[in-house]
Each structure stands twice: as C-alpha cells, then as structure tokens.
Symmetry: C2
Subunit: 430 residues, 2 copies
C-alpha cells in the first residue's frame, strides 16, 4: 500500500489528511507538537482571554477514527527527495511514496535574531504563554516600582508590526489596561498604560485596500492605540525601542515588546533541493509539486503558490484548499489520472481590532466597525475545531463581553526566592 507522509498538522496538513480518509493508503502524520492549533485565536491566549485547551485539540484525538493514519509526535530534521525518505530527530528514517510538506512558518527578525528574547513573536502556545506572562508581569512590576520614570516604562507596551496579529494584540492590550485591570491596583492606574503600534510601511493591515486600512487606523486610535506608521525599528533592548522615520531616529522607553513584523517559512523548505524565495517559501507547480518531484507537495504558508497568475496569500483558507488539492492529486496520480490545478477561492478577508472593532472584505463588499466585528466573531467560532471548543469559546467570550473580565489571567511562574528549596525555585523569565 502506498505510504503518504504529511509533515505538519496545521490547517493544510489536517485538510490533506481528512481528504485521504477513505483512500487505500497508509498515512503518517508527523507534527512536533501534540495538538492542532487554531492559530487565528492564539492572540486571545496571549492576552489572557482564552485558555490554551480552548483553541487546541489533540491531533491523535482528531484523527483517531481515520484507521489508515498513524500520528507521530516527532520533529523532522531532514528530507531526502532523491531517496524518498524523511529523517526524524531521534535518527530514525521513514520512507515515503508521496510526501506533503505543510511545515508552516515562523517569526523572522530580519537578521536581528538577538531581538527574539527581547520581543517574542506569536506562533505557538509556548509563545502565547510567554507573552501573557510578560504582559501581566509588567503591570505587577509597575505596581511595585517606586521610580516614576521606570513605572511608565513598565506601563508602555510596544507592538512591532501592523499586520493582523499586531493589530489584534494592540487593540486587546488597550482593552486589558482600560477595562480588565481597572480598579485592581493601588499604586498605578492601569488606564495610564500606553500601547504603541509601530509599523514600517505607511499603513496598517497592508494586505487590505487603503480605505480599509484607514478605517482600521481610525478604530485603533479610537480604542486608544498610539499608531506610528512609516517607522522602521532599528534597535531593541530591555528598556527601549528605537525606530527611524522621516524625522530621523526616535526612541521609545518601553519594557514590553511584542514582535509581529516578520514571517519566515519553515527551514524545512530548504531541505527540498529547490531554490526558495526571499521569505524561504518553496515555489510549487500549479499541481502543488516541487520542480522535478511529482511525489513531493508543498502547501500552506511554506508554499509560494500561484493562482490565476497571482500569489496565494498565507492564510488558513488557502492552506486548507491546498491541502485538499494535494491530497486529491496523490489519489489521481496513483490512479494514473491527470492531477488537478490549484485555484484559490478567495472567500474574503477579516481582521479584528478590538471590542466591536474590525474590518471585513467579502467579494466586492467592504465593511468595518461593529458589523465587521460580529461577522468576525461568528466566522471564528464557527470554524473552531470541535463542538466542545466552540461552546467553551462562546461561553468565555460572552463572559468577557458582559463583564470585561478575562478568564485566563494565570501566570504559571512564581517569584523566585532564596529561602525556598531548589526544586521550587522557578525563574520568572525576564
């Protein structure tokens, strides 16, 4: 029986696995983590609105009933397209007949890897916990700080990058400061927290038409976000971010920095023996293969795919559609039939900004504000995997909406002491 290996159980890999559910194949799903993550809501975990289990589901459980499939929690360290095999982190080698690489993307610091510890990005649950801890700890530090200048540094939050994640983070941070934490501190006023969104280009949400970008900027400013476009970050350290704009260089005193400026494709792309693009993405044929290898498909954020001569965006609907096409093409080729050409169906774009604030584009229709936000809410809860998660997320959000409380305000680390036993000494990452 032909063996199909799928690397990565994100939206693309999962869609491919499901499309092959009834196929006469042996499938191995390999993922480094044990869960499929509903990444569009990851910023809610980072901002203490949702718990991790609400937006993640164990891969084994999702795919348990697919009897032709084995789930392997493992890291792929090498791909040999000539020898048709994949190497895992423990040195074991798995042969494949067909390979789907859906390894996704990661943060890019544009050559400034030293910034990663200072300004974490948001791709995994661990990233979300780290950011949640930093945000909540910043308010705790501010409360204890006696020096006014340093206190304001703790109360200044900087989000770098005005794409979808950056805008969501900035909008939600303001909500936390103005509503969630209101009345809980004695030495500081959380309302006095500043949230600065720094974007290199001239507008936020650059993937949208200029008029919607402008709507987004207006809504951000109305919420209380200090939006600074045309500002390219040149330096980050523990207490400041420096950026260059037409005025020269500016310095911003801030102790919490979140990175959402750059995305790079998974380094696994470079293992496929074809030239990758500037973002590390792998060029694929209209059938989603790599050049010279009809048995190797690349899908999702890792693929530089074209549809109708236009580049396919790195969004979850595109990944799902690619997953299905790659899966069907494997079946077609095994059956000796002609594979299909990938055509991206664009159902529209949606970006949330904060409470009652969003922008949306569906076909020729553009809208923003409360209606867009309601639409965003509906779409995201609807697409969340699993009936249970949907119910739980809805309950969490209803609670948050009516009470302004956030349900996941847990810092799992504790303050270190000298007095306690070594086994209990947990460092607060800072």
């Amino acid at each position: 029986m032909p063996h199909v290996i799928i690397i990565g159980c994100g939206f693309g890999g999962l869609a491919a696995a499901r499309e092959l559910a009834s196929a006469d194949l042996r499938i191995t799903m390999i993922d480094r983590s044990n869960h499929h993550l509903f990444q569009p809501l990851l910023y809610q975990v980072a901002t203490a609105g949702l718990s991790a289990p609400a937006i993640s589901a164990p891969i084994r459980a999702i795919l348990a009933h697919q009897s032709n499939l084995t789930t392997l929690m493992a890291a792929v360290t090498g791909i040999d397209t000539a020898g048709k095999s994949v190497t895992l982190e423990d040195g074991s080698v798995l042969s494949y007949d067909h390979l789907i690489v859906a390894a996704g993307s990661t943060h890019s610091y544009f050559g400034h890897d030293e910034w990663s510890a200072l300004a974490p990005g948001l791709k995994t649950l661990e990233d979300a916990f780290e950011i949640r801890k930093r945000i909540l700890m910043a308010f705790e530090r501010a409360e204890r700080e006696t020096d006014a200048r340093r206190r304001q540094e703790w109360l200044t939050f900087t989000v770098i990058g005005g794409g979808a994640t950056g805008v969501e983070m900035a909008g939600t941070l303001v909500e936390i400061a103005r509503h969630t934490l209101s009345g809980e501190f004695r030495n500081i006023d959380p309302h006095s927290a500043r949230v600065v969104l720094v974007e290199g280009s001239e507008r936020v949400l650059g993937a949208y038409p200029p008029d919607l970008s402008e709507k987004a900027r207006e809504q951000l400013q109305k919420l209380g976000v200090d939006v600074r476009t045309g500002c390219r970050v040149v330096h980050i350290d523990e207490t400041c971010v420096r950026y260059a704009n037409f005025d020269g260089e500016q310095s911003l005193a801030t102790r919490t920095v979140i990175w959402s400026a750059g995305v790079a494709a998974s380094p696994l792309g470079k293992q496929l023996g074809v030239e990758v693009d500037r973002a590390g993405r792998v060029p694929v044929s209209p059938e989603l293969n790599i050049a010279g290898h009809e048995d190797v498909y690349v899908i999702g954020d890792l693929a530089a795919a074209q549809s109708d001569g236009k580049p396919v965006p790195g969004v979850s609907p595109a990944a799902k559609q690619m997953g299905r096409v790659a899966a069907r093409n494997i079946r077609q080729r095994i059956a000796g039939q002609k594979p299909e050409t990938f055509v991206y169906q664009d159902y529209g774009s949606l970006a949330t900004i904060g409470r009652k604030a969003a922008i949306a584009m569906v076909g020729k229709l553009k809208f923003s504000g409360y209606p867009a936000w309601l639409f965003w809410l509906f779409v995201h809860v609807y697409f969340l995997i699993g009936f249970r998660n949907r119910i739980m997320v809805m309950a969490d959000w209803a609670w948050a909406y009516f009470t302004f409380k956030r349900s996941a305000r847990v810092i799992s680390a504790t303050m270190p002491t000298q007095a306690e036993a070594p086994s209990l000494r947990k460092e607060v990452a800072e």
Copy 2:
C-alpha cells in the same frame, strides 16, 4: 491606621483578608504567584481534565473591591519578628503591626532532594503542567519505541504515596489509559498501561478509618490500579523505582514517577524564631499566635495547631477557619478585647478515587462508591471560587463524563530539532 501583612493567598490567607474587609486597617496581601489556586482540583489539571484558568483566579481580581487592601505579587525572603518587618526578594522592607503567615506547604523528599527532578510533586500550576507533559509524552514515546521492554517502561506509571493526591492521580491515570486514549494509537494499546501506587504504610488514605481505607483499596483495584502498600521507596532513577518491603527489595521498571508521599511546611516557618516541628510546622497558641508574639499569627498548613487537644489536620476547611479566627483576633486585640480560641469544626472528609469512586466521612456517617463520588463532585464544584469557574468546571466535567474525553490534552512544548531557528528550539523536559 494599623498595617496588617498577610503572607500567602491560599485558603487561609484569603479567608483572613475577607474577614478583614470592613476593618479600619491597611492590609497588604503578598503572594509569590498572581492567582489563588483551588488546590483540591489541581490533579485534574495534571491529568489534562481541566485547564489552569478553570481552577485559578487572579488574586487582584478577587480582592479588587476590598479598598483597604493592596495586593503585591512578591516573594518574602525574610521575617523579622523583633523589628516587625518583612523583607521581599527585591530587598525592600515592609513594616507591619500585625502579621498573618499563611505560606502553606511544599513537597518533601525525606532528604532525597535528588528525586525531585525524577518524580515531580503536585503543589503549583507549574507542577501540574510538568506532570501533564510527562504523562502525555510517555504515551507518545511508547508509540515510537521499537524495543518491547522499553515500551513497557514508558507505559508503566508509578505514583508514590497513597494519600489523597496519590489516590486521585492513580485513579485518573487508569481512566486516561483505558478510556481517554483508547483507539488513538497504532503501535501500542494504551489499555496495556500499568499504574502502580506505592505506599509506605500498610494502607492507603491513612487519615481515614481502616474500613474506609479498605474500601478505597478495593475501588482502586477495581479501576485497575496495582496497589502496593507497606513498600518504602529507597531508590528512583530514569528507568526504575526500587522499594523495600517485608520480602526485601523489589525493582519496578517505570519511566514516569509522580511524587505525593511527603509534605513539608514552607521554609518561611523557620524565620519566625520559634522551634518548628519535624515537618517544619510552627507551633501556635490557642489564639493562633506564635510564642512571645501576639502580633504574629500562623495559619493553615504551616501551623501546628491544636483543637480540643488534637492536632488540626492540614486541609482547606481548617485553613479557612484559622484564617477567620486570626483575622478576628487582630480586630479584638486592636479593640483591647480578649482574643478567641481556635476550635476546629470538622465537617467531614472526602477523597475521590476515580470515575464513580470515592470515600466520604461526614460526622458518624461513612460511605463510599458512586454516592460518595457524587457528593464529592457537588462539594468541589460548590466551593470552587467564582461563579464562572463553577460553570466552566461543570461543563468540562459533564463533557468528560459522557464522552470520556479530556479537554486539556495540550503539551505546550514541541519536539526539538537541529534544523529550526534557535528562538524556536524548546526543549522537552526529560
């Protein structure tokens, strides 16, 4: 205005703070973590049944409306009872007029601190995440293991200590293996997992009467737990636990070990200048003061208190009652009135074992099995802090009960690779 410092926001500290809500006092609540933890359900987080936010609530939020109180997330490193001050981890010093020490307890490895990394205990959310990760990873490792002997080592779970936590952990581990993970693996059968409960004394749940202990043992065995009493652990390493019993020494090949055998009082007790008992607890007067200091109260697990000539057990109802009495005694003494004597009200004891299995003792009434389990369920959901948490926990449990699924099966770490960027390399703790 007199200044009251409360160290620790567990059940005791929180009850004391609430009792002082309307008092003409300035109160500072100091805790190393940002949340009050509903510790009786912590084993559910460790076994992937509940998410962390479901059993924890931000201290600031709980106490926000108490205008005479300031919350400080900080670690106390020193207490000076003569100078009436407390030192924090950043070197700052706070003076008090009255002090309530409610710093609780931690694990004790009976002089074998080297076991702490091999056999984590369960006191904090971080502990729970660590244990959850180890349990879920053990099944993942077993699935990938080709050597039959090693595979069985991965599928053998050892719980050391047959107190309440140990019994809960063992019962729930069997449920995970037999029900939750059923049908999700291809190379192993999770049913073949073994759960061994090792207890040094002759019976489990030694705080209960012998007939209830026997009921507990029967229920554990019926669930599928291998109960080994009269077995004193003498050695732990990565692949085995060795214990001594009347037959001599026995070796058990196991790769996941959970420690619930020993409890030691917080090391802060030693800072009070009085002699502590063997478990590190601080002897207190009937008014809950330490000898020679009417302004220093010790409550909860840290206190060696007596009531009617009998030692007060280290359980949450006792901690709450002590918290209230200590708080009232502060008010009485400020008013120049006689402080009250602590009398422990024993409302009964309850221990859950697993699905439909528990034992209970209320007054002279003893019962076990399904009725005890239903009673346990009701009591625990009822006492969970916060309306929202109660609803969420009930929903989680209803879901788990009817589907055998567990909602928090997330391992937040990923498999490490060489290929990925350093910022993404997260070690799986093992």
